[in-house]
């Protein structure tokens, strides 16, 4: 029997990342505790290598490999590049925090690399099995990273909750996928789309499966009514891990939505649109209203992430290329703002002090004027005030919703983001108009400070000049659909 060798070139990034992650895993065994920075530098080099391979092999065409289970298209390239960039930035922010808490260990970095691999597999999946396996690879790494702080009861509880609810969501997703398989007889994204376009496959069974798939995706993205885990996990996990959970995986989740709903089940847009409308409306209400009542910044940002994911769904439910591009722009902007905000919590934290209560931000403008200004930019952007990137992201999403004739939904979303502006601006008020209660100077490393400035200014710059990023998103979506 003659077995043809698969074409490895389209998956070059993943293969490099897998080999390099295994190498880092082995090298780390020979690194002594006081030289742990070697592992971090190696991890950053691996991520840089991934970015270089991505840039070198980026094409405008679409390539398939591994029996059409793997797809390499402009959308995948763009999302992978953003994921690598986000993880690389968050590793710089996290260093001091991890050192202070005895978590600066090799496992943190190897698990991070494997979670990046999982995200890349999800982004490039063209088959329901590979989508699911990528998701599990990502989730499993994240569960373990939350629990790395073994002696913290809160972190263990968060890991347990995330693990059990994640397993439940995976079960729902698999059940829905099996229904789609029962109706169409295939798990290939392109084949399913073709069968639905031809009107083959039992529609009732397809929609029945779709309900479970949307529920499973809702769990993973953390939107109402599948949001219960979000506040507890964001609050309980060590802030460095919270930053990882809340940033790059959102990009992978967007890809997951694109591949399953946008591409495979795109023919059922009328059916999933109504489900997403309900989820988006509930997320906007609950996320924004519950965030007002929080006194813990991490919990507040968790509820804020629920409302942001509601906005992401708004762009997505438009179901056309512009809507998908708006959603992609939104998720990229959200990840950028989120990196900055959680990065700021990491910068203010020190040994034995988490800096995650709102009161810890009183009078920050007097203690650290520049950092307070960056935080002000980030909060304005999260609230969606012009000229920040958050404003433009919300604007394009709303334009996509108005385009398909759901004006009431756009008006509702604007009202809800007005409610949301309250709790973002409250932080600005605390920083600038209250007396400081804590006068300890910041102890952040120089590279984290510089990167934080770049991050904050990028939020402003992208808000002033959103066109290049938006054009990139639109191009990636148009060439991949």
């Amino acid at each position: 029997m003659n077995i043809p060798l698969p074409d490895f070139a389209p998956a070059a990034t993943e293969l490099f990342l897998l080999a390099a992650a295994c190498a880092v895993l082995l090298i780390d065994l020979f690194v002594r505790d006081e030289r742990r920075w070697i592992t971090q530098v190696l991890t950053q080099l691996v991520l840089a290598g991934c970015a270089m391979i991505l840039l070198a092999t980026a094409t405008s065409g679409t390539a398939y490999t591994f029996s059409v289970m793997f797809i390499d298209d402009p959308l995948a390239d763009a999302l992978k590049l953003m994921i690598v960039l986000a993880v690389s930035v968050l590793l710089v922010y996290s260093r001091r925090y991890l050192e202070d808490r005895g978590m600066y260990r090799g496992e943190f970095f190897t698990l991070t690399l494997f979670s990046v691999l999982g995200m890349m597999v999800m982004v490039s999946a063209n088959h329901f099995i590979t989508l699911y396996l990528g998701l599990e690879l990502l989730s499993l790494s994240l569960y373990a990273m939350i629990a790395l702080q073994r002696d913290s009861a809160v972190a263990t509880e968060a890991a347990m909750k995330y693990f059990i609810l994640g397993a439940l969501a995976s079960g729902m997703l698999l059940y829905g996928m099996s229904m789609v398989y029962g109706a169409t007889g295939t798990l290939q994204v392109g084949d399913i789309a073709a069968m639905i376009a031809r009107g083959e496959g039992n529609r009732t069974v397809l929609v029945f499966g779709l309900v479970f798939i949307v529920a499973g995706l809702g769990f993973k993205l953390g939107v109402v009514p599948f949001h219960m885990w979000v506040p507890d996990v964001y609050h309980g996990a060590p802030t460095a891990v919270t930053l990882l959970i809340s940033s790059a995986p959102k990009l992978a989740a967007f890809a997951f939505f694109m591949r399953i709903l946008g591409e495979a089940l795109g023919g059922l847009v009328a059916d999933w649109r109504s489900m997403l409308v309900v989820m988006a409306v509930l997320s906007l209400v609950l996320g924004n209203v519950a965030a007002i009542a929080q006194t813990n910044l991490k919990r507040m940002l968790a509820y804020s992430s629920i409302s942001h994911m509601g906005f992401l769904l708004l762009g997505f439910l438009a179901g056309n290329a512009f809507g998908f591009a708006a959603a992609m722009f939104y998720v990229a902007a959200y990840v950028l703002m989120n990196l900055g905000t959680f990065g700021m919590i990491l910068m203010l934290a020190r040994a034995g002090f988490e800096a995650d209560r709102l009161d810890d931000y009183r009078g920050l403008a007097r203690r650290a004027p520049w950092q307070a200004f960056i935080m002000l930019l980030l909060m304005f952007s999260m609230a969606g005030l012009p000229p920040m990137v958050g404003f433009y992201a919300k604007l394009t999403v709303l334009a996509a919703v108005v385009d398909i004739g759901l004006v009431w939904l756009a008006v509702f979303a604007v009202m809800m983001s007005l409610v949301g502006a309250f709790y973002y601006l409250r932080i600005v008020k605390l920083m600038y108009f209250d007396e400081p209660v804590d006068t300890t100077p910041l102890s952040a490393t120089a590279d984290a400070r510089v990167l934080m400035s770049v991050n904050g200014l990028a939020v402003l710059a992208l808000g002033l000049m959103p066109q290049p990023l938006m054009a990139w998103c639109l191009l990636a979506i148009q060439r991949s659909l």
């Binding site: 077995i3 895993l25 260990r105 088959h127 790494s141 029945f208």
Partner: protein
């Protein structure tokens, strides 16, 4: 009703009932044993579909290995079942109607003309000498190479996670490190100190106390 249908319904009834008992049994050991029964009936269902290899794998791997480990763990850990069930009766009035409603909706959707034995033709008869195992082996490492390798990476992550979460060096134990013992040298343990010799029978003046930093090391 032909013979395969009767077998199907018997196995399916046993499967559903034993799955229910897994979550209702008070004793965790009983629950694990009911799970074994559920796996065994599922394996029977797969045999009906001519999936012999999967059926045998289910028995060998899940019943033979995974569930035995499970039972070990359950017997090692003293789980207080009553504490786990706290709050069960409080949420039942809400949970039960929701569950029944969902079950009804799902049943009404699926019981229609879409599923059922007459909608699913029996698997085609296979030729003499056809091997299910061979057929799976032919595609597992070729067509499904990519998912197969991904599953391997997931197992690697599981190993890393399990070691990272459970391996801890305890400081207060009297465990010995063979590497340190082997590396010990004579100079590290014994120190020769030259002292002035003393005359017998003459009470010598008390020797000057040595400075503290030169005190002979106590053997560890």
């Amino acid at each position: 009703m032909n013979f395969p249908s009767i077998v199907f319904f018997v196995l399916a009834t046993v499967l559903v009932l034993s799955a229910l008992r897994v979550i209702t049994a008070r004793n965790p050991v009983h629950a694990a044993l009911f799970l074994v029964l559920a796996f065994a009936s599922a394996a029977g269902l797969w045999l009906l579909l001519h999936a012999e290899f999967l059926a045998i794998t289910l028995i060998l791997v899940y019943v033979g290995a995974v569930m035995v480990l499970f039972l070990f763990v359950i017997m090692m850990l003293d789980i207080n079942v009553d504490r786990l069930r706290e709050g069960f009766w409080n949420i039942l009035p809400i949970a039960l109607p929701v569950a029944v409603l969902l079950l009804g909706i799902m049943g009404a959707t699926l019981m229609g003309p879409y599923f059922g034995l007459e909608m699913r033709p029996p698997p085609p008869e296979v030729a003499e000498g056809y091997s299910n195992t061979r057929a799976i082996g032919m595609v597992l490492y070729t067509e499904y190479l990519y998912p197969f390798e991904l599953a391997a990476v997931i197992l690697l992550v599981a190993i890393i996670a399990a070691i990272a979460l459970t391996l801890r060096a305890r400081k207060n134990t009297r465990s010995i490190d063979p590497a340190v013992q082997v590396a010990a040298t004579r100079e590290g343990r014994v120190r020769l100190v030259s002292m002035p010799s003393e005359k017998k029978g003459v009470s010598a003046p008390a020797p000057e106390p040595e400075p503290p930093q030169q005190a002979p090391q106590q053997p560890k």
